[in-house]
């Protein structure tokens, strides 16, 4: 029961389930009718309410998952993920800054700048002449950058009016409520381009996985290749944050989960499995968050937090048993 087909089936099933279930459930017949004839409650659901939301969740989860898988491969550490290392918090902070000071710029651009600045900070702080920083140093400093970005975001919330602050707080948790087709197209187009860019760098990633010395021996410019890959991965994460907010732990969980589900061997298929698992996690989290309690729609980030935190703790105890931490 493993393999790419298994994952594709799961993804399709989750999409259908996400369209059917919610605060009010549809029957498959209604959904089918809406899809084929374009009329009735099924069509309304697909076209305006759940459709764009599910497609956005799919795209955002996929870019976050791919970003996580890239970082984990690049730093050869399952704990290296953009949400652990503060890049998603940085992207979230940039958006809060834009909202607080009324800067009118496209969200993906703002998020990308925030993510890149956070990554630049981690890079600068850990920079040592002639040394490649150890992954654990990067993770630790990244955590610190994340703490600081969150503190700044909270600080800026003080500037906002009461209802605006409540909205921003909800957004900072990571939510897919009220997404329309513009969000969906945005994350799919930008995400698609960035996915192509990152898959184009798989040869470099494969060389880097052998370790910096061997990679340099193979004629790779290690520093440049690392920066390019990290930059792409940060942009991928920022693309997800721009439409879904800084949802925690999706990027962290997706990589290992995807590989386990598809049994992927080659680097490219590992990356795609990570993207698939990310999409799966975010769609399921969103579904659970909006359908679990009658009358109440929780943000998806609450669910990924409740799922992801125990995963992180489990991962820590495993890494410790293997003596890697």
């Amino acid at each position: 029961m493993r393999g790419p087909v298994f994952m594709i089936c799961l993804l399709c099933g989750t999409v259908v389930a996400s369209l059917i279930f919610g605060q009010s459930s549809l029957s498959i017949a209604t959904l089918w009718e809406g899809m084929t004839t374009g009329t009735g409650p099924g069509a309304l659901m697909i076209n305006t309410i759940r459709g764009p939301r599910v497609v956005t969740a799919f795209g955002a989860g996929a870019v976050l998952g791919l970003s996580g898988a890239l970082f984990q491969a690049l730093f050869r550490n399952p704990l290296a993920a953009p949400d652990i290392m503060g890049f998603t918090s940085g992207a979230g902070l940039a958006i809060i800054i834009a909202v607080a000071f009324g800067i009118n710029a496209p969200m993906p651009l703002v998020a990308a700048i925030g993510g890149l600045v956070a990554a630049g900070c981690v890079g600068l702080i850990t920079h040592q002449k002639g040394h490649v920083p150890a992954p654990l140093t990067l993770i630790l400093v990244g955590l610190g950058v994340g703490f600081f970005s969150s503190a700044l975001s909270t600080f800026l919330l003080t500037l906002l009016a009461h209802n605006e602050a409540a909205e921003a707080q909800r957004w900072l948790t990571g939510s897919l409520a009220a997404r329309d087709w513009s969000h969906a197209t945005q994350v799919w187009i930008i995400g698609g381009v960035l996915t192509a860019v990152s898959l184009g760098q798989m040869r470099n990633l494969a060389a880097l996985e052998l370790g910096p010395d061997l990679a340099a021996g193979l004629g790779l410019r290690v520093g440049a290749a690392r920066w390019l890959l990290s930059g792409t991965a940060v942009l991928l994460a920022a693309t997800g944050v721009a439409v879904a907010g800084p949802v925690p732990f999706v990027a962290l969980m997706a990589g290992p989960m995807g590989i386990r589900m598809t049994g992927a061997q080659s680097l490219t298929s590992k990356m795609l499995s990570g993207a698939g698992a990310g999409a799966l996690v975010l769609m399921l989290a969103d579904l659970a968050a909006r359908a679990a309690l009658p009358g109440i729609q929780l943000p998806a980030g609450v669910m990924t937090g409740i799922l992801g935190a125990p995963y992180l703790l489990w991962r820590l105890s495993r890494e410790m048993k293997r003596g890697e931490l």
Binding site: I84, G144, F147, A151, L152, T158, A166, G305, L316
Partner: protein
């Protein structure tokens, strides 16, 4: 001399905490309020009803968190240990929120007692899963365990707030503590609990130091590691629980204070604890005053200010640790 220096700093912080605010009060009026209290004079009422409780809350929470951070860093041999980062604050605050929102109890003194089991459970979880009591564990694991616990509780609180349609105020309390609610907090009781914790810390300080020599050597010196660790957890629980009960979760104070204390007194845990308590109170009062000024007329919560100050300290320490090299 350095010791005199930090006492002077504390006095300055106390003076500022009393003087600065929406209504600035000159020292002369303040002394008058103490000697000839006139309850028709609004300035006197401000001093007695608002500034004094707030000052005491700051002193209690700051000193308690300074002690908590010092004990945590000593017992885990991890310079990134802090009640906020490791999720002990969150555990205590979560228990408090559950008490106030779920049980619907509003008598603060009773509810505040919930912070202690909350802090105890959180510290046991984070130390057990993060391997905090095995000093040979790198700092990444413990910090990540704390981050995971914080994230989990944050998600639960977000769900709780949204489910119960509570106001953003509950959330603000959760995200960062402040001294503004001082008048409604059980200050006297918590001052006593925090003092007990502080005295216990002073009592077990030599054993903690012995433990840091390594468990074999410390056993040879007659220390029982299990007992010392349990004692340290009890200290952390008492001090953090008291701090959260008076001020809510205040992060990064316990991180910043111990390295400063070591700069001043060197490696001598008893002295370090005393200096940490003083410095903790001083920094928290400064943070509170800064929060009143920086965006006046609205106030920034003291916990946000300490997080803004503490973030760079965290980065500075983390950068120097080079965890990859040691583990």
């Amino acid at each position: 001399m350095r010791f005199a220096g930090i006492v002077i700093l504390l006095i300055i912080a106390v003076a500022l905490a009393l003087a600065v605010g929406a209504r600035s009060i000159p020292p002369r009026i303040f002394l008058e309020a103490l000697t000839h209290y006139d309850q028709t004079d609004p300035a006197h009422v401000t001093v007695a009803a608002i500034r004094m409780p707030r000052l005491f809350a700051g002193l209690i929470a700051g000193a308690a968190l300074g002690v908590a951070g010092t004990v945590m860093q000593a017992i885990t041999r991890n310079p990134l240990a802090d009640p906020g980062i490791l999720g002990v604050n969150s555990g205590a605050a979560f228990a408090l929120l559950l008490g106030t929102t779920l049980l619907g109890r509003s008598d603060q003194a009773m509810v505040a007692l919930l912070t202690f089991p909350g802090a105890a459970i959180a510290s046991i979880i984070v130390f057990a899963l993060g391997g905090g009591l095995r000093g040979d564990v790198g700092p990444v694991r413990l910090t990540l365990a704390g981050a995971a616990l914080n994230a989990l509780l944050l998600s639960l609180v977000t769900a709780l707030v949204l489910v119960r349609q509570d106001s953003l105020e509950v959330f603000r309390f959760w995200v960062a503590g402040s001294l503004t609610q001082a008048t409604t907090r059980p200050l006297m009781e918590m001052a006593m609990v925090a003092s007990v914790g502080g005295l216990a810390a002073l009592a077990i300080a030599p054993q903690i130091e012995a433990l840091s020599l390594g468990s074999a050597l410390s056993r040879g010196l007659g220390t029982r590691p299990g007992r010392v660790q349990a004692g340290a957890l009890a200290v952390v629980t008492l001090t953090t629980g008291a701090a959260v009960a008076v001020a809510g979760p205040i992060a990064f104070l316990g991180l910043m204070v111990p390295p400063l204390a070591r700069l001043i007194v060197g490696h001598w845990l008893r002295m370090e604890l005393i200096v940490s308590a003083i410095l903790g109170a001083t920094i928290l009062l400064f943070a509170d005053v800064l929060g009143r000024v920086v965006m006046a007329p609205s106030e920034v919560r003291a916990g946000i200010m300490t997080a803004l100050l503490g973030g760079p300290v965290f980065l500075w320490v983390a950068r120097r640790l080079r965890p990859g090299a040691q583990s």
